[in-house]
């Protein structure tokens, strides 16, 4: 398995970058790089070389905390080195292909095919085609079964592989759950095989026994004529990898700091993993359980260290629901106390409407004030009950009073349309709620600030996702979404309200991919070959490529989207034990159906 490591010379890179948009994406001149240098690479000993790949552009991928965590952990070991690679933008892809240059990592500009292992972070399904594209530009065969013994091992982790079916065709293995512990176990085994029998198959057999590891070649799927799954062999579930105590891993205090501007230029710190709320549409709310929190005291100490190491002026406390972090108050106070006079601003991206208190408003207010984001998700109380978004309009309005009374001028609201049981009234209620929030906010603000008042509304299309109580429900057809979006737009005209919405055609593909099975792999491959990539970029989304690809592969999109799945059928993701029993999801589903029915009986 020992092979020569090939890399790109800096002079060559300079030539490649002539006329390329945002060349800083590709040069890797960043503070905080911790991968091993050329000396180590020349004489690795029993070293293992990993590429952490993020299939989106640099500016989007850099702020991803998961990748930074793994990078930090791997590079803490003397015998392992992790480098990073991001998806090249289309102009650079074209340049690489035209000059027959393979995609390379940022640190030592190593061509992807020279790595021992490439690990993709898959945050959503619309990054599948980019994943294939990166492998291909990197000089690696995309189909796992066709890769030779010298090719790198390719794996993926992240929420878009909790249903490992669709990417099974391309991945040697996938990791479900927390990566912190398992990554080192995997690398140690890889080291053993690389310098031992040199046998990839033997390595895969070994790791298949570990919690959290799914090796597609170990499983076979059988189907009925109607397309449903008949059985999965062997019937053994892969248990999600879970770390018990977050505090047993320090936060990343020396992250890589981008040189160019990214989507979130700030120091990111995870305060809690998992969410106790269990909103019925929300995959994150289930797959990251159990809820685990870091201790505020340690967070303060480590964050201060991280701020000193990075020089960031903004810190962002990440969690799925900051309001459920019981020590929020002492965390904020602790940080502000330590950073007094050092110009720090704090952001809490997941703060919920119902817990936005005067105390917290004042604490965040001491620094610079980032925008507020709130997600009521639905306009009517009926709908919020059905999806279990436990928040009342009164709570929403009280928070609006506090926020706008204490200096905020902008707010971003998230809504979702196409939810189960939704009626026209519920859609109209979204428009009404937005208007009521705007009215209330303007009333609470000082008059002098009214000019600057602004509401951003983001309307998302509901996608039933695996491992949620709504995993069985049908998705609305794209035409229905268009009507619903127009209905909202028609009812709102204020100049200070800006509404954006997700493309229903794209959401339909995302739905098919997230609820798909192993047969989806060929469709992904063909769509990519027909030019699909950057599928979540509206202007690049290639609808025809997907439609054609589904057609030639005889995959009816409706089967995975507008179809209500049977609660009795074997689901493609049944192969994974996410830590929550199916009957819990079923109970949530039935409760929602009950609420939908009660309501229609009354009417």
């Amino acid at each position: 398995m020992d092979k020569k490591i090939r890399s790109l010379q800096y002079g060559e890179l300079e030539k490649l970058l002539e006329g390329i948009e945002r060349p800083g994406r590709y040069v890797g001149n960043e503070a905080g790089i911790s991968s091993k240098g050329p000396g180590w690479l020349a004489d690795m000993g029993r070293g293992v070389l990993v590429c952490l790949a993020f299939p989106d552009i640099y500016e989007v991928g850099m702020p991803n905390l998961g990748l930074q965590i793994l990078y930090d952990i791997i590079n803490g070991y003397p015998c392992f080195s992790a480098e990073r690679a991001y998806a090249p933008w289309i102009d650079f892809e074209e340049r690489l292909r035209r000059t027959k240059t393979a995609l390379f990592s940022l640190e030592n500009r190593i061509f992807l095919d020279s790595f021992d292992l490439i690990g993709f972070s898959l945050q959503h399904e619309l990054l599948y085609t980019n994943t294939l594209n990166m492998l291909d530009i990197g000089g690696i065969e995309v189909i796992s079964g066709k890769r030779g013994p010298d090719a790198p091992l390719v794996c993926a982790g992240g929420p878009a592989v909790v249903n490992p079916g669709p990417m099974s065709r391309f991945m040697d293995f996938m990791v479900v759950g927390d990566g912190e512990e398992i990554i080192i176990e995997l690398l140690k085994l890889l080291q053993k095989h690389k310098y031992g029998d040199g046998n990839k198959g033997a390595f895969l057999k070994d790791i298949a026994k570990l919690d959290g590891v799914y090796v597609p070649s170990e499983y076979r799927f059988f189907f009925y004529n109607d397309g449903k799954i008949k059985k999965i062999e062997p019937p053994l579930k892969v248990k999600k990898a879970v770390i018990k105590d977050l505090d047993s891993f320090r936060i990343v205090t020396r992250p890589v700091i981008p040189g160019i501007k990214t989507v979130h230029d700030r120091y990111e710190v995870e305060i809690m993993r998992g969410c106790p709320r269990g909103c019925r549409f929300c995959q994150a709310g289930y797959i990251y359980r159990p809820v685990r929190k870091r201790k505020a005291e340690k967070l303060v100490e480590q964050s201060i260290e991280g701020l000193a190491n990075t020089g960031y002026e903004e810190i962002s406390f990440l969690s799925l629901s900051a309001s459920d972090y019981s020590e929020l108050d002492s965390l904020l106070k602790g940080i502000l106390e330590e950073m007094k006079g050092k110009n720090l601003s704090i952001s809490l991206p997941s703060l919920r409407l119902d817990s936005f208190s005067i105390g917290i408003a004042e604490l965040i207010n001491q620094g610079r004030r980032p925008g507020l984001t709130f997600a009521p998700e639905a306009g009517s109380q009926r709908m919020r009950d059905i999806i279990k978004k436990n928040i009342t309009e009164r709570q929403i309005m009280e928070c609006i009073d506090i926020a706008f009374g204490s200096g905020w001028e902008k707010i971003k609201l998230y809504f979702m349309i196409g939810l189960p049981g939704e009626k026209e009234e519920d859609i109209l209620e979204i428009a009404e709620l937005i208007k009521r929030i705007a009215w209330r906010a303007r009333k609470a603000m000082p008059r002098s600030k009214l000019k600057r008042f602004y509401i951003n509304v983001s309307i998302n299309v509901f996608i039933p996702k695996p491992f949620t109580p709504f995993q069985w429900t049908a998705q609305d057809a794209p035409e229905r979404f268009e009507e619903k979006i127009h209905l909202i737009l028609k009812n709102i005209s204020a100049r200070y309200i800006n509404i954006s919405w997700s493309n229903p055609d794209i959401s339909r593909i995302e739905c098919a991919l997230s609820r798909g099975d192993i047969r989806m792999g060929k469709a992904i491959e063909d769509a990519w070959k027909k030019g699909a990539r950057f599928d979540n970029w509206n202007e690049l989304f290639n609808r025809d490529a997907w439609i054609d690809s589904f057609k030639i592969n005889k995959i009816p999109v409706e089967f995975f989207t507008s179809r209500k799945y049977d609660t009795g059928e074997i689901l493609p993701w049944d192969i994974v034990d996410i830590g929550i029993k199916k009957r819990i999801f079923l109970a949530g589903y039935n409760k929602a159906l009950e609420l939908i029915n009660i309501d229609s009986q009354i009417k």
């Binding site: 800096y10 890179l13 970058l17 060349p23 800083g24 040069v27 890797g28 001149n29 960043e30 503070a31 700091i257 040189g259 160019i260 501007k261 230029d265 000193a308 190491n309 990075t310 020089g311 960031y312 002026e313 050092k342 110009n343 610079r368």
Partner: protein, 224 residues
């Protein structure tokens, strides 16, 4: 206590791919990492008091970027430079520092002339030919009146390149009725000319920036 420094820094290697906005945050973070207490502007959106000279265009290296800064702690010029340099990323390095007082005109407003070196990948092509090439460079219509002076080309120290020096007018000279020199566009056109002679442009470096005072070229340090 407040101290004002004017400093000069290099932007070499791959740091040339950072835009001016990127450089501002890279510099700010590096100074914060160095633990240097910066003075911040008052008001709602507080920013550290950094004010830069005209930035080198993206993609061109520089040995003469300038910046003024106010710090709120006591330190010498050397201390400032060495602490900052320990935190800066590859390619960006502070090369000279000078303390000043009072309120001199901003760097942006005083720089009139910028010198560039153009490295051509070849040995010296001989006096006659080199003059011919420089001549055609200066007569590219789009740049007439924006290049103020060119020295004759000479060999680089390592003998690998033939280096042409150019002086171009900076943004401020617009007020004096001169055309501003745009190096990126110039290099594109100039490349065609040198290619015709079988040569190629390997590197462009901003060498120095000057203020014009009564016909005399003064560096931003000399102005203070």
């Amino acid at each position: 206590m407040e101290i004002k420094f004017r400093f000069k820094f290099l932007k070499e290697g791959s740091s040339k791919y950072l835009s001016h906005l990127d450089v501002i945050s890279v510099m700010t973070r590096a100074l914060r990492r160095a633990g240097i207490a910066l003075k911040y502007t008052e008001g709602f959106n507080q920013r550290p008091k950094l004010s830069f000279g005209p930035p080198v265009p993206l993609g061109i290296e520089s040995r003469a970027e300038y910046c003024d800064i106010t710090v709120v702690e006591d330190m010498t010029d050397e201390e400032f430079a060495s602490r900052a340099n320990e935190s800066l990323i590859g390619g960006i390095r502070i090369s000279a520092v000078k303390q000043f007082s009072g309120r001199p005109a901003s760097l942006m407003s005083i720089i009139d002339i910028i010198d560039y070196s153009i490295y051509i990948g070849s040995s010296y092509p001989g006096r006659e030919k080199s003059l011919e090439i420089i001549d055609s460079a200066c007569s590219i219509v789009d740049f007439k009146g924006s290049i103020h002076d060119t020295g004759a080309g000479k060999k680089s120290k390592d003998g690998k390149f033939w280096v042409i020096k150019l002086s171009g007018f900076a943004g401020t000279s617009e007020n004096m009725g001169m055309k501003v020199f745009r190096p990126v566009q110039f290099v594109e056109k100039f490349k065609e000319i040198v290619l015709y002679y079988g040569l190629d442009i390997e590197r462009v470096v901003k060498e120095e920036a000057y203020s014009l005072k009564e016909g005399e070229k003064l560096t931003p340090f000399e102005v203070l």
